[in-house]
Symmetry: C2
Subunit: 333 residues, 2 copies
DNA sequence: TTGTACGCGTTATCAT
DNA sequence: ATGATAACGCGTACAA
């Protein structure tokens, strides 16, 4: 592999000049620049990223911690981050945190040890205190899907409360008054916010909420199924069920079929996230959209601006959900 | 950040010794080693990965090119790769190739410029010749989901031909003799292999295949829908349809419902990949399993063994598909 | 505008 | 077993 020395020799200039034309730093005459570029061409010279990092103290890499690689959710987020970074010649190093405190901390340590210039974190299990402490460290980061008042300027979050509102109103507007709710794990912030928004919307509409129609799931399909079976077992009356994500809504579909219910006539369902597979379900699932791809892009842009001093305007910290209507909501019989 | 100099000073030993302790290379007395470790602890010393890379000419990073980040397929693959690499303190740099020749080449260039120690490539659009040429270059790589005779020892592939066989037999065994096939793009190797296996199985079973019952889709849902509508429009007789992936099978479900068909009584369907959402469909989709997660792990293990000299046995180059039976196949009426 | 010289924090090759 | 020292390839003040 050719080095910058060979290039400078061939071009008949000093290596400082070569460095300048490569990085566009400092003034270089067009003539010299041309010679240098020619030399780079003929030698097929590629700068050593290691040497560059050592000298500049930057790696051009951004560590990204997601909960999981699979599933429709994080893929969209990673995709948004990667394309945005790559356009600026940076790259992402992705690691999984598995929604587990130990594992998330290990992941963060791993990425810091990789000497990433910055991190983008989608963490659920570590505490606010831990993150506030982390923010005092050397590696800057951005949080996605999380809001911590003390770190507001590095948070990219969804208005989950509003999302809960929308789920409730999707049902209220169709005339439902007995609406069950299958929540995510209540130790997660987003789960609590969605539920809060949901209850709040009912309250404002003067529709009482029966706590017996609340089931705490785990965001996986089977817990959605269990939730519906549970309501039925307890002989609850309800004509609609809102789910805190689409997987659980799919579980509700399954349980409904087991019970011989026809969707959406016998039961209206609304999901959350508007995952890619919402449209694979039958009837196609109405769902509150979570623009995670755009949020991933925004997180990358925030890093690009804060760390790499890219000229980026239009930074936005909070995103709004939106109801995507399909065929899973009918009027109550 | 503490450097190795400070550690050596505090421990009262030379640089070389510290380096030896860290990397476990060369003999070091237990006593010295202890002193060094203590110094590392108190200084909270972390080796600089850049300096390490520069001196050792390794980055401990593996570039991974996938077609897309989203969707159920690549997530499982990336997940397998990441966990396997991280266990050995290596990391993946992921990039997307979008199944497009230019874009795939750019992605490969990008990863090489990142000075990855090796690459894991899931490429569809670049030619065999290009890859053979690439193999003569400096950066070693492994191919996933592709078999090139000249590069057999760096290929991890699925027996797609056998998969096609299985899809055909799922139908034949249920008694179907008029079986349509919705293929992926025929410029892709896996599409061709699956189709070939499918036709071959029919032939062996002495069931003639009507070319009018072949439709070339693009692996996306809508093309599956188009395929089925196309067969019907042409007044073809068939009782079953095999799809080259699950997305297109989902499209077939949609078209079937539009046509008022009841699944699986009026039409049996089999998919390919056994994506996570195969079970979200109703009726749950029978599908030929593609163990992409395990294949990703295997690709990582191959890199670990070949490049990083890890002691790994049980390398396997070809994986076998497997029919996962659910509820989408019935006997013909 | 261009060149010189030093520093970045390791690994690895010699000696000792 | 341990230490001294030369690479590794580039960025960047500082000079010229």
């Amino acid at each position: 592999m050719a080095t910058i020395y060979e290039v400078s020799a061939l071009a008949g200039v000093s290596l400082a000049t070569v460095s300048r034309v490569i990085n566009g730093s400092g003034r270089v005459s067009e003539k010299t620049s041309k010679k240098v570029r020619a030399a780079i061409q003929t030698l097929d010279y590629r700068p050593s990223s290691a040497a560059k990092s050592l000298a500049s103290n930057r790696t051009d890499s951004v560590g990204v911690l997601v909960s999981e690689f699979h599933g429709p959710f994080y893929g969209a987020m990673m995709s948004g981050i990667e394309s945005e970074l790559r356009a600026k010649s940076k790259h992402g190093i992705f690691a999984a945190g598995h929604s587990d405190e130990i594992s998330e901390k290990e992941g963060i340590e791993f990425l810091i040890d990789r000497s990433c210039d910055a991190l983008i974190l989608h963490v659920e299990a570590v505490s606010d205190a831990y993150l506030i402490e982390l923010s005092k460290g050397k590696t800057p980061f951005v949080l996605i899907n999380r809001f911590i008042p003390e770190l507001a300027d590095i948070c990219i979050s969804l208005n989950n409360d509003l999302g809960g509102h929308m789920a409730a109103h999707a049902m209220l507007d169709a005339g439902h008054t007995h609406i069950a709710y299958i929540s995510g794990p209540l130790w997660k912030n987003d789960s609590r916010d969605r539920l809060h928004g949901f209850k709040n919307a009912l309250e404002k509409a003067l529709v009482p909420f029966d706590e017996g129609l609340l089931f705490e799931g785990d965001y996986h399909e089977e817990s959605g199924r269990q939730g519906l079976l549970n309501f039925v077992k307890n002989k609850k009356k309800f004509t609609a069920v809102a789910c805190a994500n689409d997987e659980m809504a799919s579980g509700v579909y399954k349980a409904a079929r087991e019970l011989g219910l026809t969707l959406p006539e016998d039961l209206s369902v609304v999901g959350f996230d508007h995952s890619i597979f919402a449209s694979y379900l039958y009837p196609q699932l109405s769902s509150v959209n979570y623009p995670i791809g755009r949020m991933g892009k925004m997180a990358a842009r925030l890093v690009l601006r804060n760390i790499y001093k890219a000229l980026i305007k239009d930074i936005k910290h909070e995103f709004e959900p939106e109801l995507i209507s399909h065929d899973s909501i009918a009027q109550p019989k």
